[in-house]
């Protein structure tokens, strides 16, 4: 019990130092934290039409942006910065201290969750002020929104940590990770209406968490009757929770077993 509290305490301290370092890197603030908001402004300005009476494209797009923000901030950011930390000696130094591995993971997860809260708040704010985004009024929808963001953050964090073993160096990490994320975003219906994609893309996307997160976010932001336009004819929230949980558990097992502290 004492150990567990200590691990949490150090994890919390790590999240503070991680956040400090994140905020001091201008490129990470612009390209990770603000990026979905920048995209919202671009897409929201270009596509002014409605996808159904009273439902703007922005309404559809914000759902996708929040979901893909989870992937950018968690998976993409960690899969790129952890190999960099491996190169610059951060991980080796930490490995030589009594800090426990769990504290490091907790620090990363809290960092991602905190960034997601800021990012989502910005998307909702600018979405509703500038692009007439209709925020849900039903409490149940807000509850769904909350667990989707939290479970999505956790899943994305763990998969980012797990995927950090793939890039050979910090310098090459972005070239490995970014295309995967962009392709996944196209296949998962972030930029286009999912059901208008070819069916092989839909089936491939259904293996990965982003499609389910995006769909879950649509259930929050689109009118209820839109559910019939989904592939399954409903929002499939139960299935979404299961798919995300499976990825979370698999990622956790893999990360704990295979995490690399040094390059060799």
């Amino acid at each position: 019990m004492k150990n567990l509290l200590e691990t949490l305490r150090i994890g919390l301290l790590r999240s503070q130092i991680e956040l400090k370092q994140f905020m001091r890197q201008r490129e990470s603030v612009v390209f990770t934290l603000f990026f979905p908001v920048i995209l919202l402004f671009i897409f929201g300005t270009v596509f002014k039409d409605t996808i159904a009476p009273g439902v703007t494209f922005s309404q559809y797009f914000v759902a996708g942006m929040i979901a893909s923000g989870l992937v950018n901030t968690g998976f993409q950011q960690l899969a790129i910065t952890i190999p960099m930390e491996r190169d610059d000696g951060t991980l080796k130094r930490l490995r030589g201290t009594p800090m426990s591995v769990s504290s490091y993971f907790i620090g990363k997860a809290l960092l991602v969750t905190f960034l997601m809260i800021i990012q989502t708040a910005m998307l909702l704010f600018f979405g509703s002020v500038v692009f007439d985004l209709n925020l849900p009024t039903d409490l149940m929808l807000w509850w769904n929104f909350t667990w989707l963001v939290l479970l999505g953050s956790a899943c994305s964090t763990i998969l980012g940590i797990a995927f950090s073993v793939v890039p050979k160096s910090g310098r090459g990490a972005s070239a490995v990770v970014s295309p995967i994320v962009i392709i996944l975003q196209f296949f998962s219906g972030v930029f286009f209406v999912f059901t208008s994609l070819p069916s092989f893309m839909q089936q491939l996307a259904a293996i990965f968490p982003l499609k389910w997160l995006t769909q879950g976010m649509r259930s929050v932001f689109l009118p209820e009757e839109f559910a019939t336009q989904e592939v399954a004819g409903n929002w499939e929230l139960g299935k979404t929770a299961i798919v995300l949980s499976i990825w979370l558990i698999l990622g956790l097992l893999f990360a704990v077993k295979k995490f690399k502290w040094s390059r060799e």
Binding site: N3, I10, D88, K92, R93, G96, T97, P98
Partner: protein
């Protein structure tokens, strides 16, 4: 295995593929001593040290560091890491954090951390306390590394090539810092490419080559240095004269009588540690 030694190694082997990078090393480092490990690149020095630090696992052999197996994980691994400090080779981490932020953060990891302000004074970074790591010079950056190595008040400190790239003045003042740490009773395992550094700091040096320890001795006696012939040189009839002798005192007295007083441009040179070392590793190549 001796309980009072800081580091005890017996028959250590590390195999990579078909090659033994470390090929049967025996080594004892006493508590409170500075032990320097010397050897050319690829000799097995780094592999040995990284096994002692817990970064790599041994293929075979016995290793005890402060009474623990460095490969230990979990709670006892944490207890062990509480007592050691590691100063890694060139690092560039935490570039956006200030000296104070980094040191005070690392202090949280340890059970009995030292006072952060005191450590900053000791490593001489008081004026840079609010500077970001990326703004520090090479020497200052190494001082930050040492601060992070000693913040947990370790009994044993690993220093891996601590002064590479230093100017002579920075190196001298770094040596003073290491001497202060020794005076505090810390055991230090030092690896270095600089023989004058080993000479200035180490109680004993071990020379490693091709994965084996060739010799362990004090810097003064390594390679039979204390008994090696000395070179006596002087000026006679406008030309430089020299002779090699086991007993330079006798030769100097003879010359003194010959000149009936002071000997012009007299020099008595013993082989320095570097010459002895190069001979040792050269012979074995």
């Amino acid at each position: 295995m001796r309980a009072d030694a800081a580091i005890e190694v017996q028959g250590l082997v590390k195999r990579y593929g078909s090659k033994n990078a470390v090929d049967g090393i025996d080594l004892t480092v006493e508590s409170g001593e500075i032990f320097a490990l010397l050897g050319p690149n690829g000799a097995g020095k780094t592999t040995t040290v990284e096994i002692l630090e817990g970064y790599r696992t041994a293929t075979s052999g016995k290793v005890e560091v402060l009474g623990f197996d460095p490969a230990t994980t979990g709670n006892s691994g944490q207890r062990w890491r509480n007592q050691i400090g590691i100063v890694l080779q060139s690092t560039s981490d935490a570039a956006d954090l200030s000296v104070f932020e980094t040191i005070s953060h690392y202090a949280n990891y340890y059970e009995n951390p030292r006072n952060v302000e005191q450590v900053i004074d000791e490593v001489g970074l008081r004026e840079k306390i609010n500077s970001k790591a990326r703004q520090l010079s090479g020497g200052q950056r190494r001082r930050l590394d040492v601060a992070l190595g000693i913040i947990g008040s370790p009994k044993l400190l690993f220093l891996d090539e601590p002064t590479t790239g230093f100017d002579p003045e920075a190196r001298r003042s770094f040596w003073e810092l290491i001497k202060v740490l020794k005076a505090e009773g810390k055991t230090i395992l030092l690896t270095t490419h600089y023989l004058d550094e080993a000479q200035a700091l180490a109680d004993r040096v071990g020379v490693i080559n091709n994965g084996k320890i060739i010799e362990i001795a004090t810097p003064e006696t390594l390679g039979g240095r204390n008994n090696a012939p000395a070179k006596v040189t002087w000026l006679e009839n406008g030309t430089k004269q020299q002779l090699l002798t086991k007993d330079p005192t006798i030769e100097v007295i003879k010359l003194n009588q010959k000149f009936g007083g002071s000997i012009p441009e007299l020099e008595v040179l013993r082989p320095n540690l570097e010459e002895i070392y190069l001979k040792m590793i050269g012979e074995l190549k």
